[in-house]
C-alpha cells in the first residue's frame, strides 16, 4: 500500500449539495448520496453529540427528531433530510448552557453513566412526552425500550422521564 492511495478515490462530483435545517439553523453541506444523516450531522455539520452505537437501527443512540418525530439517523440518508426540521441534542440546552428540564432530570435521577446513549434517550423522551404528556408508566417503559443503555439498568432513565411527565 502506498501513501498516495489514501486520498481521493471518490471525486467530489458525485456529491450532492443540500440544505439542512438543524436546531433552527440552516446549513449547506455537500454529501455523497450514500452518506447517512448521522454521518452528515457528525462529520459535515460537526454536531458530534449524535452518537453511533450500532448503525443498524437497533440501539437508538443516533436518535434525532425529524419534524418532532424520533428517527434513527443511521437509517436515513442525509439527502432525505432536506426540507425537514432536524433537532439534535445540541439544541436542547439554552445557548448559555443551562440544561432543559429533561436534561436536568436525567442528572437528578442518575439517568446516565458513560453518557454515550444519553443524547438518543433525551430526544426519544422529549418526543414521547410531547406526543403523550399523560403516558402511563407501563407505556412509558415500553416506549423507552426503543433504545439501548448498557450502563444504568434503565431505572434512572425511566425515573427521570417520569419526573418530567409528572411536573407538567
Amino acid at each position: 500500500m502506498t501513501e498516495s492511495s489514501i486520498t481521493g478515490l471518490l471525486e467530489s462530483d458525485c456529491k450532492t449539495r443540500l440544505r439542512l435545517s438543524v436546531n433552527g439553523t440552516e446549513r449547506t453541506v455537500e454529501v455523497e448520496p450514500r452518506r447517512t444523516l448521522a454521518d452528515a450531522l457528525r462529520d459535515d455539520c460537526g454536531l458530534t453529540g449524535t452518537h453511533l452505537g450500532c448503525e443498524h437501527g437497533v440501539c437508538g443512540a443516533c436518535t434525532v427528531l425529524i419534524d418532532g418525530n424520533p428517527v434513527r439517523s443511521c437509517l436515513m440518508f442525509a439527502v432525505q433530510a432536506a426540507d425537514v426540521d432536524i433537532r439534535t441534542v445540541e439544541g436542547m440546552a439554552s445557548p448559555d448552557g443551562t440544561l432543559n428540564p429533561l436534561q436536568e432530570s436525567f442528572m437528578r435521577h442518575h439517568g446516565l453513566q458513560c453518557g454515550f446513549c444519553t443524547p438518543g434517550f433525551l430526544l426519544l423522551s422529549e418526543a414521547v412526552l410531547a406526543a403523550r404528556p399523560d403516558i402511563d408508566d407501563a407505556e412509558l417503559r415500553e416506549a423507552l425500550s426503543s433504545n439501548l443503555c448498557r450502563c444504568t439498568g434503565y431505572q434512572g432513565i425511566i425515573d427521570a422521564v417520569r419526573a418530567v411527565r409528572d411536573a407538567v
Partner: protein
Amino acid sequence: MNWVGRSLRRVEDPALLRGQGRFVDDFPHRATARFVRSPLASGVIEDVRGEAFTVADLDADGVSEIVCELRRPDFVKVPQPLLARGRVRYVGEPVAVVVGSTPEEAEDLAEQVELDIRPTQPVVDLDSALAPDAPLLHPEATGGNVVVEGSFATPGLAEALASAHLVVDMEITSRRQCAMPLEGRGSVASTNPADDRTTLYASVQSPHMVRTGICDALGLPEVDLRVVAPDVGGGFGQKLPLAREDAVMVWLSRRLGTSVAWVEDRAENLSAAWHSREQRYRVKGGFDDEGRMLALEADILCNTGAWSCYPITWGVEPLMALGELPGPYRLGEYGVRSRGVCTNTCPTSPYRGVSRPVLTLAVERLMDSAAGRLGLDPAEIRHRNLPEEFPHRSPMGYYLDEGSYRQSLTAALAEMDMEDFRRRQADARSKGGRLPGLGISTFAERTGYGTPAFAARGMSVTVGYENVALAMDPSGYLTLRIGASPHGQGLHTALTQIVAEEVGVHPQRVRIISGDTDNTPYGWGSFASRSAVLAGGAAQIAARELARKIAALAAEEMEAAPEDILLDSGMATVAGTSQGRSIDELARIAHHQPQRMPKGLGPGLRTEAGYDPAGTFSNACHVAEVEVDPHTGGVQLKRFVVVEDAGRLINPMIVDGQIRGGVTQGIANALLEEVIYDPDGNILTTSLMDFLPPTAAEIPDIAIIHLETVTDSSITGAKGLGEGGAIGAPAAVINAVNDAIAHLGAEVNEMPATPERVRAAIRSAAAAIGDRADAAGAVERSEAA
C-alpha cells in the same frame, strides 16, 4: 462539612447531557483505517492481494509481537503478532489494514483486498479442542490446546466426599458472552513531525498500560507516545486489554505521518472485540445431614478463544474460578482442577465479574439442590454455611474481612416477604398458567486489591497500585491527577467528595484529571472493582497530607499549634477562638509569599500519594422473582432485591447506579445474551438483532438496601462494588427459574436460560420421569389457561 456519604450530582453529567462529551470518534483526523478480517475460523494465509498493509510491513519495520505471561509451569506463552502471520485463527482476526480518506472509502478499499486463505479444520468448542486428535491452534502449545491448568486439593477431600451424607453432582454451563459497551472500541493516532511524538486517543480503560504494551511492541520509548482515554462509552472489561488494532494505529500514524482513525462497527465489536465466560463446571458438593457443606470438588473448563490478552492473560478466567469458587462459604475440604482451552474463536478478556458470575451460579445451584434433597429452605441452608467470624479464611487462603453475609440474606428475604410469595406460588401452580419462582444468591466480591493479589498470579506485567498527585493552585482550587481511568462510573465526582472533605473546601473547588499519560501519574486504570478503593484511598492520603501542610501554614500565620487548626468550609480556624484565615489566602501565601511557609514545607501546596492494599471483600444477597411460561419457556423478571454491603458509601446515588447496571448485565447473562458459533467457527451473532442486550422492557425496578460494615482493609472504609451486580444476579435468576419449574421435575443449569432451553428442560423432565401425564398435564393446564 461532610461531603463523603452524600448523593451529590455528578460533575461528569452536564457536558454529556449537552452532547459535549468527547468520544474517540469525535476527534478530528485526516485518514480512516479499516481492518480486513478473516472470514474463516482456521486457515493458512496463501496470499493477500490489494492495497493493504500486512504483517510483512510490520516485520519490515521491526515491529514485534505482544507478549505477556504468567510465570507458572502450566502456562503456555504465545506471542501475538499485531496482524495475522501465516495462519488465521478466528473469524474476525485482523489480517490486513487499509487506509482511506473517509470511512466509506476505507470500506471500499477493504472490500477490494483479496485474501487467499486455505481452510484448515477448526476447533470451536471445548470438547473438540480437548479431543486427543484435535488440531493444535498454536505450535507453542505442544501438549494440546490446554494453555493453562491449575489444580489444588486439601488432603481430606476424597474422604470427606466419601463419607458425606449427601453428594450433589451437577454440571453448570455458561455460554459465551460479550461485554458490548454501547461505544465500540476505537482510536485516533496522530504524529507530530516537530518532535516525532505520537498521541493516541483511544477508548480504553487503562491508558498507561496500553502505552506500555504498544511501546514494547513497536520498540518505542514510552515518552514518545501519549495515550489519552477521553470520554469512554462503557468498557466493562472489554476495553481493559491491549487491542492489537490500537497498536497498529500508532504504527500507521508514524509510518504515514498523518492522523488516522479506527472506529470499529458493531459487527466488529461483536465478533472481533473480546468475548468472555464460555465456561463449564462439573461440581460435586458433599453435605452432612443438616445441610453443612463439608467438601467441594470441581473440574472447570474455560474456552479462552484463540489468543491470550495483554496483560491479564488467558489464565484470568480459569484461575479466578479455581481460586474463588467456594465463595464466602465455610468449607473444610476443597479440590479443583481448572483449565483454559484455546479454540478458533474470538479471544476472551475479563468481563464485569470475570468468572464469578459463573462460579457463583455453580455454588448457589449446589446449595439449592442440596436444600431440596434435604428438605431444607434455601435460605436456611445458606445460613448454616455462611461465615460468622472474621476474617474468614477461604480454602485457598483468602481472608474475607468483616462482612454481613447472614444479615444481608435475612434483610433480602424480609424485603421479599417469603410467606406471601410461597402462597402466591402455590396458588399459581394450582390454577395453571405462568409459574412464579424465587431465587437467592449470596456471594463475596473480592475488590480493591493491589499488587499482592496480582503478584500471586505471577504476571509478567503485575498490575495493582494506584498513584495520585494533588495540588492547590494560588486561587485555592485543587487539581487531582489520577492514574485510574474511569469510563462512566462517576469516579471524578466521588474523588471530589473525598478531597473536599479532607481539605475543608467545597467539592466544586476540586478538578480531576484522568486518562492522559502526559498529565497523570503512572497507574493501572479502572477495572476489577478497584477505582473507588485504590484511587479513592490514594486521594484521601494525598488530601490529608495537603491538609496537614495548609494547617501548618495557618498555624504559622496565626501563631497557633498546628494540631489546633480546623479546616472547614474554605476556612482555617484556630479551635476555640474566632481566629481564622481563608484557605484562598493561605494558598496565595504558599505560592507568592513562600518565605512565610513553615520550614521544609514550601513553596506551593502539592502532594503525591500511592495506595496498594491487599484487598477487601464486599458481600451481597440478591433475590429474584420470576414468572416462567411453561408453554413457551419464556421468563419474565417480576421483582429484584439487592442487599449490598460495600462498606462506607462515598456517593450512594453512584453506588446504586453501579448495582443496577451490574444486575442488568447479570440478568442479560442469565436469560438473553449469547455469542453463538456454528461448528465451522462462523459467528452467528454479529448484530443486535441476534445478540440480545436487554431493553427497559425486560428489566424490573431493582430495590436496593445498604448495609455498611466497617472494615480496616480499605483506608476510606469503602469497598469496591462495580462488579457485584453482575456477579450475583445470574445465580438469583437461574435459581428462580428452577424454583418455578422444580415441581415439574425440570432443571436448567445452563445460561442463558433461553425459552428454548427452559422449554426443553420441561419436556425432557416430563419424558424422563416416565410420567408424562403429570408434567405435561401441568403444561396443558397452563396452556389452557
